[in-house]
């Protein structure tokens, strides 16, 4: 019912929604996620085989109170991050060659009590990476701006768009 954001370009692309993940072996189609708020976008890319993927997770983990068992794993860092790596490995990516980048984790402003969703998302991401000996090649997280993130599967370049301005987060 709701249209996806329209873009001016006719470029073919994969779109990652909120609480969603895409992996691909097609270097001609970049992977996009629009408007990361407190969510975090993680890209991984193996330059030797041009395989990569993007996760857009929303919360660190399902709460203890949550009794639902049918929850989409990509909504959470705790389940989405391992899934992103496993999917790319199954397509032929190799851990030692992976270039890993992250963006997002912004917060709404507050003078009082805050839920710090962005901060908690960043914490779980770092915890999982630390435990698994994964080093971030580039990261831009925090602040109050929304970010669009793009992974170019041909080159591995990761770009961000913030307040209409594009910048390169990582390039070879």
């Amino acid at each position: 019912m709701t249209p996806q954001p329209q873009t001016l370009s006719s470029e073919k692309k994969l779109i990652v929604g909120v609480g969603d993940m895409k992996v691909s072996t097609d270097p001609t189609m970049p992977i996009y996620t629009y408007a990361l708020g407190s969510c975090i976008g993680i890209t991984i890319y193996d330059p030797n085989v041009k395989i990569g993927g993007m996760l857009h997770f929303m919360l660190p983990q399902p709460g203890k109170e949550n009794k639902r068992t049918d929850l989409n794993p990509f909504m959470f860092g705790s389940t989405g991050i391992p899934s992103l790596f496993k999917h790319c490995y199954s397509l032929g990516a190799v851990k030692e060659r992976l270039i890993v980048c992250a963006a997002g984790g912004a917060e709404v402003m507050t003078h009082g009590k805050a839920f710090a969703i962005g901060d908690r998302n960043r914490t779980i991401m770092r915890k999982i990476f630390w435990k698994n000996n994964i080093i971030l090649a580039a990261e831009e997280t925090g602040g109050n701006d929304a970010r669009t993130m793009v992974l170019d599967l041909e080159t591995g370049e990761v770009r961000l768009k913030i307040r209409g301005k594009e910048s390169v987060l990582w390039k070879p």
Binding site: K13, G17, H111, F115
Partner: protein, 285 residues
Amino acid sequence: METLKERLEALNQLPSLPIATLKLIRILGQSEVAEYEDIEEVIQTDSALVSAVLKTANSALYAPKSGKVATIGDALRNLGLRKIQEIAVAHQTGPILGKAVEGYGLLGGQLWQGALAGAIASQVIASQTKKCDPGEAFVGGLLRDIGKLVMQALFGDRLIDANLKPEDSEWNQIEHEKKEFGFDHSEIGAELALLWKLPDALVKAIRFHHGPPEDQELGGALVDIVHIGDIVALAMGCGTGIDGLHYEASSESLQRMEFKRADFEQAMIETRIRLEAFQPHQEDN
């Protein structure tokens, strides 16, 4: 000096909702007096609305086991007044809120995505807190940012220039709009809601969705809930443009609604799940 109302009335192309939708919102704003016949009559005046209601009533989620829903009367009996209102308002606002709003850096579809996320979040929070009617919260959440369309219509290219001005990292968008234009999108949105003769509670929800007043005569549960729904949508990145998350969350609203972190996270999860019903996952080519 021109009043906000005068400025609105001077606009050639005012954002407008179909008459049938406005009538539905007004009738259901006084829910205790709404009659099925009145609602049926309003829906029948709009053929697009009739087909939207029948399509939803016959969808996998709502279709009765006993057969097809063929009339609006059957749909009303099966789904109830509030559900019909939700379908009607969401369906009819799509073409209006689906437009690109360049002044806020929103591509086509992004304002509506934010509107739907805020609507569903407000509805979820109303059900969680049991402090106001979930149907009313849905409509309040959906229309809360209607003022962004008015700002675009009033200021055109000047709006994006103004919205790109802040260079420090911690500006507040509402204060910034007031400084640049003398008023902000929530004030002008409420003025439009008044012009549309929307129920008073909805006008207040639109007016104060970025800053619920402490005075509960001015604010109230619906205002607090739509404000928290807005924060949920912002955290999810839905409808965020160049203004990003530069809005302040009211800790007083959270306290008044006794809304804890676990409730907030649950609202995000439920919103994400229900958003899918409105927005089938598609790849954009």
